[in-house]
């Protein structure tokens, strides 16, 4: 079984895992594979570092879907009929669009867009990146413009931020407890500290001592501005969630053989499971290949002999250096094998794909296509 079999028929593929494990590369490789099978494919990245742009040899990615030049695809040996697009999500822009779309009037939209709480919500709040990414995936998916959307998730170290982003944002948009506290002000249509009546007064005054009253004023303005829009948001978030939990979506866990990232991958897997989502596949990137699979001598004396047979001069301690290097590379392979085996035990039953550490960084289509070769070579199940 290869990875494209595993995700066949899935319309939304989310690549999750900790930062620095090659998630962007894997997402792009999965998208490229789907495109090569004739599917209209989009890969979405939310990483501000423009990694995908690098990987795809594109100069710029905006919030727009950018079609990859078919000639580039053809040049990399991928069918010229493949239709693949890429986009980098502009967080703030996406939030603004969502607000404009959901607001009942342009005035309401403007009032929200100008609010300082909204500005921080849309740019800095934990989970807001994740929320808008999933929201955008839903929108693109629902538009029917693509057969497959691959999402390269933010390099969050916290799986829960990702999974509970919607709940968190919705809670900010509509919190009953806070509404009750603020009720007198909401009725008055504006916030003043003088209106604070006990017992809610003490809570608000204490909070105000902590951050200053201006913040509370902004917050209640924000809630007033948002009135009537909550249902739309909630409805939308529910649909996003349903999509991600459905058979249309697949979660691919990406990791490296590093024990720490494996730990995080397992944590992510369990968090998904708690949410009723089963990991579809695991991709382990940068696995050291074992030089010993090629056979031959591995001790100093035998290496010296081999050099003599090959008529290579053992100058400047060449045999010693080769021996040391062989030992080091073998030990790297041992460590990686042990870690992959551990991962396989922990995730038994889930297809696992290994991509060897390559001689060069992957940052072009040909490199991605090479990775697809490894992802197609099947789960070596031990």
């Amino acid at each position: 079984m290869n990875l494209s079999d595993v995700v066949r028929g899935r319309q939304v593929i989310c690549c999750v895992g900790s930062g620095g494990v090659g998630k962007t590369t894997t997402s792009a490789a999965i998208a490229l594979q789907a495109a090569s099978e004739g599917k209209r494919t989009l890969v979405m990245t939310i990483d501000p570092a423009r990694r995908l742009a690098n990987s795809l040899g594109l100069k710029e990615l905006g919030n727009e879907e950018t079609r990859i030049d078919p000639q580039l695809l053809a040049a990399a040996g991928i069918g010229a009929s493949a239709r693949m697009s890429a986009m980098m999500l502009d967080l703030k822009h996406s939030w603004d669009e969502l607000v404009k779309e959901q607001a009942r009037t342009p005035e309401q939209a403007q009032r929200i867009l100008d609010n300082r709480i909204y500005k921080s919500l849309s740019t800095a709040m934990a989970g807001s990146l994740e929320y808008i990414a999933m929201e955008k995936v839903y929108e693109v998916h629902a538009s029917g413009r693509f057969d497959v959307v691959v999402l390269d998730t933010p390099p969050t170290s916290n799986a829960l931020d990702f999974l509970h982003a919607a709940d968190r944002i919705l809670d900010v948009l509509d919190n009953n407890a806070f509404k009750i506290l603020l009720a007198p002000m909401m009725k008055a249509g504006k916030f003043t500290m003088r209106l604070l009546a006990a017992p809610s007064g003490i809570v608000l005054k204490t909070l105000a001592r902590f951050t200053g009253a201006a913040f509370l004023r902004d917050l209640s303005d924000f809630m007033l501005a948002f009135e009537g829009m909550y249902e739309g948001f909630k409805d939308r978030a529910g649909k996003v969630r349903a999509l991600l939990k459905s058979q249309k979506a697949a979660f691919v866990l990406v990791t490296s053989p590093n024990p720490l990232t494996i730990q995080e991958a397992l944590f992510f897997h369990r968090a998904l499971l708690d949410d009723g989502i089963r990991t579809a596949a695991v991709v382990v990137n940068r696995v050291q290949r074992d030089p010993r699979r090629l056979g031959g001598p591995d001790n100093l004396a035998a290496l010296r002999e081999a050099l003599v047979l090959a008529q290579i001069k053992d100058q400047d301690g060449l045999a010693d250096r080769l021996c040391q290097t062989l030992t080091e590379q073998s030990s790297l392979a041992d460590v990686d094998r042990r870690e992959v085996a551990r991962l396989r035990r922990e995730l038994s039953g889930i297809p696992l794909f290994q991509v060897p550490r390559l001689r060069k960084d992957v940052h072009d289509l040909a490199g991605l296509w090479q990775i697809d070769g490894f992802l197609a070579s099947g789960d070596g199940g031990e």
């Binding site: 620095g20 709040m125 105000a208 951050t211 056979g295 001689r359």
Partner: protein
């Protein structure tokens, strides 16, 4: 004094920033070890979801209470919820008041909506340890090392004080954020380092991070290029061995792998030296069969000249 002791270990607050997986925690541990050996009372603050530094020294996790790992070396895991509670209690003085104000549904909402409150209280705690905490009439810590969150979040994390002060300019939090902002901008007391790897993406991100950090005026500390491979073979040697016949296949592949990583190391070292106006320290790749431990930290500290 070496460049490192001068520009890093002699400061009050050292921030180790960089992309995830670039070895920030190991580096924080190595810097802390060097400082502690020099007799500086050192505290490592970890803000990631999982703490790592105590484990690197072969010790149990420190948790949210400061724990001594070695003489002069302590660590603490700063988590938003506990930091908030501690911070609020410090500000509000009364436990009951804290409970009424913070432990209710409305406050949970408030805390979620407040701009980066988690980061604020975590940073507030770091600042308190670095600048405020006293013991016997002097600062309790000579050096506080902050193992910062991964790049994207890292710069956001450090700019939290100015973002917050743009929104709020009264109250105890604002006062403390002003203190933190001053400390983070003071080259005599603070140094912000970058950890990276000799690979395309981490190197590019280090260059972007350097620009962003300098743009915001954070005092530039060195770049640490982790996991470096030394050049061990000439190109001619690799070519000869890889063509050396069946007996040398494994040796040839190993040599080729090693040398290609050495070439990448040299290439990205050059790229970084040209693009990033900071000192650069190379940290060798360590072949540790059983994972990183105290001896790895020792080796890294020695390689960058952190040890006395």
């Amino acid at each position: 004094m070496s460049a490192l002791t001068e520009s890093v270990l002699g400061r009050r607050l050292v921030v180790v920033s960089g992309k995830g997986g670039t070895g920030k925690s190991t580096l924080s541990a190595a810097l802390a070890l060097g400082a502690a050996r020099r007799g500086r009372r050192t505290l490592v603050c970890e803000v990631a979801a999982r703490e790592r530094v105590s484990e690197l020294f072969g010790r149990p996790p420190s948790g949210t209470k400061i724990r001594e790992i070695l003489p002069n070396l302590s660590s603490v895991h700063i988590r938003p919820r506990e930091a908030l509670r501690e911070y609020a209690l410090m500000t509000l003085k009364y436990e009951t008041l804290y409970k009424i104000a913070f432990e209710n549904a409305a406050a949970r909402y408030f805390l979620a909506a407040a701009p980066s409150l988690s980061e604020i209280v975590m940073l507030g705690k770091v600042w308190w340890h670095a600048a405020q905490e006293m013991e016997r009439g002097r600062n309790r810590w000579d050096l506080v090392i902050l193992d910062a969150p991964a790049t994207g979040h890292g710069i956001t994390f450090l700019t939290v004080p100015s973002v917050f002060l743009g929104l709020v300019n009264e109250g105890p939090l604002a006062r403390d954020m002003r203190g933190m902002q001053e400390l983070l901008a003071d080259p005599a007391r603070c140094s912000v380092c970058i950890a990276t790897l000799p690979e395309e993406m981490p190197a590019n991100e280090a260059i972007e991070l350097d620009r962003a950090l300098r743009k915001h005026g954070f005092p530039p500390g060195p770049v640490f290029l982790n996991a470096c491979f030394d050049s061990r073979f000439s190109a001619a040697e690799v070519a000869a061995v890889t063509r050396g016949g069946p007996l040398l296949l494994a040796a040839g592949e190993s040599a080729d792998n090693h040398q290609s990583r050495a070439v990448l190391t040299a290439y990205y070292e050059k790229v970084l030296r040209e693009a990033v106006p900071r000192d650069l320290f190379k940290v060798p790749f360590l072949f540790e069969r059983t994972g990183f431990g105290p001896s790895s930290v020792e080796k890294i500290a020695a390689s960058i000249g952190a040890l006395p």
